[in-house]
Every structure is written in C-alpha cells, then in structure tokens.
Amino acid sequence: MTDILVVAESDADVLSSATLEAITAARSLEGTIHVLLFGSSVDADEAAARVGAFGAEELHVAEHELLGDYGPEAWGQALALAIDDMEPDVVVACGTSKGNEVLAQAAARLDLPFVANCIDLPGELADSDDVVLTRVQWGGSLLEEASLSAETRIVSISHHAVEAESIDGPAATTDTFVPELHDTVARSLCVGREMAEAGVTLSTAPIVFGGGRGVGSADAFAPLEELASLMGGRVGCSRAVTNNGWRPHRDQVGQTGTRIAPELYVASGISGAIQHWVGAMASKKILAINTDPEANMVVKSDYFVQGDLHKVLPAVIDEIKSRRG
C-alpha cells in the first residue's frame, strides 16, 4: 500500500488553504494520505477535521519545543526525520515559498532529489521509482517534463495549479510524532514579525492600474494613482519602472514581482514581456492601453485602446467624475 505524506503549512494558527491544494492533488494517487503538521499552534482536532474533509486519513502532529514558530531548518529536519520514520513513497507540499523551502531542506538532509512546482501528480508517482512529471519553468511561461528517479519521491505542486476541493471525508485519525531535533536548528527560527497595515494589496485588489516604461517618469504615475483611489484599486508596474526607480519593487507585477488576479488589469504603456505576462495572466480581464497595436500585452488582452496613455487616462478620470456628478 502506498503512503503519501503531505506537508502542512499554517498561517497564523490556521491550516493554510495551500495545504488543502496539496491534499487535493495527492488524491490523484492511489494510497493513504497522511498529513504532517508542525508544532501545536494549530488546533489538532480542527486540523484533523479539515484535512479529513479533503481526503487525508491520518494526521501526525510533530511536537517539539523548537517547532513553536517557523524555522526552515527545524521544519526541514523534522520532515526528514518523519520521512525516515514513516517511509512514505511520496512526499508532497504546495509550492509556496515555505512549502518549497521545507521540502528542499528535507531533500538536502536525505540527499534525495526534489522536483519543485509540478502542475499535477501523475498516477505512476505512487508506485514507480522512475516517473516523468510536468513542472513549471520561467515562473509559468514554459513547461518541463522532468524525470525523477528516487525511492522516496519528493515533489511540490505549483500553487493554484490545483483547486482545493472537499470530498466531505471524515476527520483524520491523529497521533503525535516527536522528532529528535538537533539544537543547531534553533539558529534559524523566526524571532518576530513586522506586519504592514491591512487594506487592499496588489494581490487582492479588484482592479489594478499597471504602468510601464511608456508612463515615462515617477510623476507621470499620478493619473494611475488617482484612478486607483477613485476605484478602490492599486497601482502596479513593470520591471522597467522599478529599475528606473519610479516605483518601489512591491508594486512590480511579474515573475520576480507579485502575481495578480484582479477582475480587471489595466496595463498602460507595458509591452507585455513574458516575465511580466506570467504575473498578470491570472487577471479575469485585461485592458491594454498602448500606442503599439502589435505589443504582446495588446495581442493577449481582452480589450484594447490604441493611443497615448497620457491623453487616455486623464480622459477616463474626467469621464468617471462626470458620471458620478
């Protein structure tokens, strides 16, 4: 019987939805789904009910004083010890920042390969030491079919590649796992947090006004700012803009910036290079404003206005104000 170990992640004391994506993905493999949860900040009964609903049969709570807050080495060592102890055939996490980090930490300790950001988990993964997996490259612009040969297959599933779907399963049975962690892992424990004020962010805004090199200067972002504040949205930008120092990097959309998924992305003066596009492609609709009808952003958009953004955007502001009276 195949055993699949899903690594859970928590977000301020609650099991994260990324974990439920990983469990959902693991259901495509024939076998028993186990979940490994670190520390005791998440209520175990609640977690057992939640992971059970998505198809997990057993929940193992790893308990140790060094597992109180996140630490890449502490979690990675605990996972490596759990793999030694439980001997799962497959180990899966969601490919979030921490999911990939913990799997890399465990794989390094066990000297096993780790295949990051697969788009699905093929059935053979459960019973073959030699499988081919499809994973994302270039932040999602390209796919790679990668071979994986290992007795224990360690893989992450790309975040949002699979939608978490409940099957209303019964609560998982729960036990505790006490890893013998080495003191040195204490050196990389999180010691505190600095949180920004709550509000809409680039990744949660319903509308994003993105500006690129075509905007021309930091000051020329004023109309985009005004539109964002009129409509409860946010200003985004391309890397050409952050590189010029016109906007801070936290506004950058793309492969090395933020992935956005607004109802509408208004991309003004952005050519739509592939690295920008991968950050914008989850938008429900895209409106491109550009002088160049051949620009990639335009060709891939849902709506297009051809023209100088410096004339179009102020006209849009006037139109909104006149309709509001």
Binding site: D11, P72, S97, N100, E101, A104, A108, R109, D111, L112, P113, F114, V115, A116, N117, W138, L142, L143, E144, E145, S147, L148, S156, R187, S188, C190, V191, G192, E194, M195, A196, S203, P206, G233, T242, N243, P248, H249, R250, T256, G257, L264, S271, A273, I274, L287, N296, V298, D302, Y303, F304, V305, G307, K311, V312, P314, A315, V316, E319, I320
Partner: protein
C-alpha cells in the same frame, strides 16, 4: 569580511520563449543573456556591504565558458573576484549543481578563508528549482533562510538580522555567521555599470575550475509550451475618445460603485 554570490546565466527572452527542435533547450539564437533579477540584487547587496564594511566579494557561476559574460558584468559593478565552474552548457540538475558549488566553495575557502555570507537568488530564472542554495548551505553546515528582502549584518558580533517577505509583511531572523541567504528582487535597487567599471571588468582575472559532473535524481525529458490561451481581443477605440467605452467597461464589470 568575505562574501560569495552565486549567479546563473540564463537567456533573456522577450514576448515568447521559443524551444529548440529537439525540445531540450530554450532557442537562444536571437536572445541576449542575463542573470535572475534576484541574483542581480544579491550582487548589488554584496557590493554595498563591501563598500560599507570593507572586505571583498566573489561571484561564482556554474555554466558554459560564455557565462564569463555574467561574471564580468558583476565585476563591472564592483565585485572583486570571479570564478567560473566550467561545464559543456547542458542543463545540470539541482543536486549536481549544488555538489559542484559545494566543492568549489570548500576549495576557495581552504585557499583564502571562509565566506561570512554566501548569497543565492531565491530561485533561478529559468529552471526555478528552489533548492540549490538550501542544498549548499546544508552541505556546509550553515543556516539559510529564503525570500530575504533585508540584510543587516553585524560582522563584529558574528550575526546578521534578515527580513523574509511573507504575505502582508516580514518575518525577522537572527542568524549566526557564516550564513547563507536566498534573496529576492526588491532587496535593493541594483546600480548600472559605469564606463570605468566596464573597462576595469575586462581586465579582471576569471578563475576557471573544470566542474566534475555528479548528477542527481532529476533529469530533463523535454521542454514544451503551455497550452495557448485563445485570444479574443476587442478594440474599444482610439485615444481619449475611447474614455466613455472604458468607463462603460468598468460599469459592466461592476467595478465602478
């Protein structure tokens, strides 16, 4: 104080990434090359730290002889030393890459002393394996934290405070040195090379080490394009006269309350 930065030479594609006929690689016939923006920030950080605290920075890459271009770019920004782990240019898997980097670090440290900090990108731009830095750190017995967007070292105390980006804020870590970090773009604003820097970088000696292949358990079968999304672009109009149509669209989508 000594810092090492590991960078990877990758093609810099535009609107689309084309693949060679055999599916083994990105078709680079008409492309320039770069390193990941994360790694550009790692290089910038190393240069800034050397300017602030004195010491020297080294840049290292594993790749074909042409990767010297990325090493010289880093030197043009102010990195003192350059090391090329030379390969035939084929794609190396993360375990193999990490093993070669570890053995190079060990021999560089045996010659000139330990690196206080080793900087990696959070992920490489092309393959994005999210692991080479972690594997190297583990093999060297050093701590590593990824997604770093702030570094405040105290070399006298032998520690560094670092900030990791999380949703809506930062996590703080206090690491003992020597340490390894996986950094992200946004850590700083990389400078452009000056003419003087560019000229000086031409004269920098690149230390070349033949990398011994010791592959791990992940291999490339082939690359392929993701399924194309059907495009249904509708032109709303030209210039400022299109403003009413744009605002109609906002209303239609329920975005104008």
């Amino acid at each position: 104080m000594r810092i090492l930065v590991c960078v990877k030479r990758v093609p810099a594609p535009g609107a689309k990434i084309n693949i060679t006929a055999d599916g083994q690689d990105v078709d680079t016939a008409h492309l320039g090359f770069a390193m990941s923006p994360h790694e550009e920030c790692a290089v910038e950080e190393a240069v800034q730290l050397v300017e602030r605290f004195d010491g020297e920075a080294t840049v290292l890459t594993l790749g074909p002889p042409e990767a010297e271009e990325q090493l010289r770019y880093a030197s043009s920004l102010g990195v003192q030393n350059a090391v090329l782990l030379s390969t035939d240019g084929s794609a190396w898997d993360p375990q193999g890459t990490a093993r070669a980097i570890v053995s190079a670090v060990q021999s560089l440290e045996a010659e000139d002393g330990p690196f206080d900090l080793i900087l990696f990108g959070n992920e490489s731009a092309d393959s994005g394996g999210y692991q080479v830095g972690v594997r190297v750190a583990h093999a060297l017995g050093r701590p590593i934290v990824n997604a770093i967007k702030g570094i405040e070292p105290d070399f006298d105390a032998g520690t560094t405070r670092v900030k990791r980006e999380i949703d809506g804020g930062f996590e703080i870590y206090d690491l003992p040195l020597p340490a390894v970090l996986g950094v992200k773009e946004g850590l700083n604003l990389p400078r452009y090379p000056t003419m003087k820097g560019r000229l000086a970088s031409k004269k920098v000696g690149v230390k070349v080490i033949e990398a011994a292949a010791d592959a791990g358990g992940q291999g490339r079968v082939r690359l392929r394009q993701p399924p194309a999304q059907a495009s249904t672009m509708v032109k709303l109009g030209d210039g400022p006269e299109a403003a009413p149509a744009i605002v109609d669209l906002f209303e239609e989508l329920g975005l104008l309350k």
